[in-house]
Symmetry: C2
Subunit: 406 residues, 2 copies
Amino acid sequence: MKIAVMGGDGFVGWPTALHLSDQGHEVHIVDNLSRRWIDTELGVQSLTPMDSIQERTRIWHAETGRRIRFHLIDLGRDYELLKNWLGEVRPDAIIHFAEQRAAPYSMKSDRHKNYTVNNNVNATHNLLNAMVELNLDAHLVHLGTMGVYGYSSVGAAIPEGYLPVQINTADGRQASQEILYPANPGSIYHMTKCLDQLLFQFYAKNDGLRITDLHQGIVWGTHTEQTRRHPQLINRFDYDGDYGTVLNRFLIQAAIGYPLTVHGTGGQTRAFIHIQDSVRCIELALRNPPQRNARVEIFNQMTETHRVRDLAEMIARMTGSEIAWLPNPRKEAAENELIVDNDKFLALGLEPITLESGLLGEIVDVAKKYAHRVDRSRVPAVSAWTRDIAPTLNHDPEGVRLRSVS
Amino acid sequence: MKIAVMGGDGFVGWPTALHLSDQGHEVHIVDNLSRRWIDTELGVQSLTPMDSIQERTRIWHAETGRRIRFHLIDLGRDYELLKNWLGEVRPDAIIHFAEQRAAPYSMKSDRHKNYTVNNNVNATHNLLNAMVELNLDAHLVHLGTMGVYGYSSVGAAIPEGYLPVQINTADGRQASQEILYPANPGSIYHMTKCLDQLLFQFYAKNDGLRITDLHQGIVWGTHTEQTRRHPQLINRFDYDGDYGTVLNRFLIQAAIGYPLTVHGTGGQTRAFIHIQDSVRCIELALRNPPQRNARVEIFNQMTETHRVRDLAEMIARMTGSEIAWLPNPRKEAAENELIVDNDKFLALGLEPITLESGLLGEIVDVAKKYAHRVDRSRVPAVSAWTRDIAPTLNHDPEGVRLRSVS
Ligand SMILES: NC(=O)c1ccc[n+]([C@@H]2O[C@H](COP(=O)([O-])OP(=O)(O)OC[C@H]3O[C@@H](n4cnc5c(N)ncnc54)[C@H](O)[C@@H]3O)[C@@H](O)[C@H]2O)c1
Ligand SMILES: NC(=O)c1ccc[n+]([C@@H]2O[C@H](COP(=O)([O-])OP(=O)(O)OC[C@H]3O[C@@H](n4cnc5c(N)ncnc54)[C@H](O)[C@@H]3O)[C@@H](O)[C@H]2O)c1
């Protein structure tokens, strides 16, 4: 297959491109390198030393004889360029990672809110629009997030995209219907993924496009089979307060002997998946495209759920770290249940890597190995969700240390 | 009150601005005049001779002594300008009409799809973003559309925004919940209004903004109490295939002795409201703002529903016109029921003007009066919803005549 990986220079995109190239597909990476620019803006860098995309693809070729081609296109801004490129290459499948993906970054300021809405809505819409215009019957696989469901339970396990409900009809009966799960996003970033869902729904209905939306949990882990092959193929590892997920921040804190900082009560339950499983799921989704004119196919791409404080305790147990409690910068419920269906990927043969089995390796092989590169001032989360929350945040990294010791 | 009317140069915005100014409010119109530019792009013009906004506000002042101030700002593109302006004026209420509002225009080409998504999403998001940034506790009243519901019935009357459903819980019970009515947009334009809904939901939840969303039916009629006061205060009347609603096209066809062109079986049911009632509803909504931190207030702003073919027959009866049947350029169900709740506005005292009582006046006072200005070639709808539909459309206006006569 000819596969276009939009956002293929990113954390999930890069190992996906390698995995698919390794299987013999013709892989094209399209990226505007905005994430590298954002690293520059924030003054942060990947824990792992990450080469340029040009260098990484060169090394991949040297190691394997396979070529991954890189194309610098901004999906949100360069509609004509994107359309012309798609029209030339006419890929069989398109994997769409090309969005601003950090919730804290999306809440930093009005400029960051606008950037996230603009970038993400336009990237997705330009892609759909061009596919229709070019009469391109490619399978579009999009990376969405568990966050579109919101983290409030309706009292049932979260289904894979569609919720069966009963509606009272005018004549007093109950009619059953499946609806797109009611969106309840917790940040501007998550909201853009809800907007994406409506775009997909419309284009599938009006133009018959074949679309798979993967509602993904928090991805952890660094290495996949392919990234291990050469030190310069290594994946990025974000640990800063904006792009670092809660788990990555814990790993770094454990590695440098800092207390693990838990926000609020740590009662927020989140869904997780290992990067190797994420890449496998994407492969499985590619192998099982929906029919033309079918509704959008939705998978929950996650393998386990944990409360944040339980995760902290798991890592504390493995490493002997302490735990420090901080105010929550996010506007969200202090505690939530999260039960999620993921039967579809399991039925297709996914065998999950668990946190319990893999976390220690991650601490030793990655976090401790590169601990000398850590910039401690970058670990705390500093983006507040509302003006009321902002003054409660402690922006001083040493403050964390003091509070936890006392 | 100090009221900002975003999109106040448009068909609903202008009479709203006059109505509120007449009641003594301090009214500011913000508009980028894009609709006038689109008229130029399409080579069409309002049936009624429409003066510049500067001239219209000058005449309003001369007639009444009241001032309406006009500000040229693009809500979608000029975030900083908008924010600065809002920060200076700090209106008590903001009425948001400033979007590209024609479904056929939104489906014309890939460029028009992108324009509509960009313009509408950014206009709405910039407004919300700036309000939060400025800590501006204004009541935001947005004009949405009945089209967000989709025109497919769930077997119950369409409620005002929120649908009560039952969900099967894990332990076999049924839990009741009210959800935002599942979106089912029929065009890119309607889809942007669904995206708006999610933006409103998020900003009401995260930042406590007070927002009212009016799900409006097709607005008909030209005059309100205020536009009648001077010939140069007259409202615009669109009859072209893109901006002219089905009703306006019928009125023009009746006035110039053309057959009334019905698409498909004419079995599509639509909701309607007179412009005078629309303006009154907006006033009622302004008088009844939601609380801070409440959910978005949603009203169905319509007063009656009709099948398109029944409308055609009503007008044929009043005028003796013939009816011609054409292929439908839209991808939609041929026939649909539409039962809509509008109890909230009725409870607040709205007394609807009916089509049965008002249509004839509209034909005589407006359509026939200005019939000499009609450009016949502009009446047919030419924007196709999909590539399959495009070739079935007859772009030759004389073709209509021949088919109906034979
Ligand atoms: N990492 C996670 O834990 C996680 C969890 C759930 C969902 N996701 C989703 O998976 C996708 C990939 O996530 P990631 O962690 O790899 O993010 P990332 O930031 O590492 O990668 C995104 C890539 O897309 C590129 N990009 C962004 N906007 C673009 C545009 N307009 N045009 C072209 N390229 C653009 C960036 O330069 C970057 O290389 C995202 O859509 C994200 O929302 C990620
Ligand atoms: N007319 C109807 O039948 C109808 C029905 C349902 C809903 N609505 C909604 O009511 C609102 C007004 O409709 P209308 O018929 O008056 O439309 P209109 O096109 O006559 O008026 C819209 C006005 O907004 C302005 N505008 C558009 N984008 C702008 C931007 N980015 N910045 C500043 N100004 C901008 C235009 O120049 C125009 O003057 C729309 O949002 C529409 O979706 C209208």
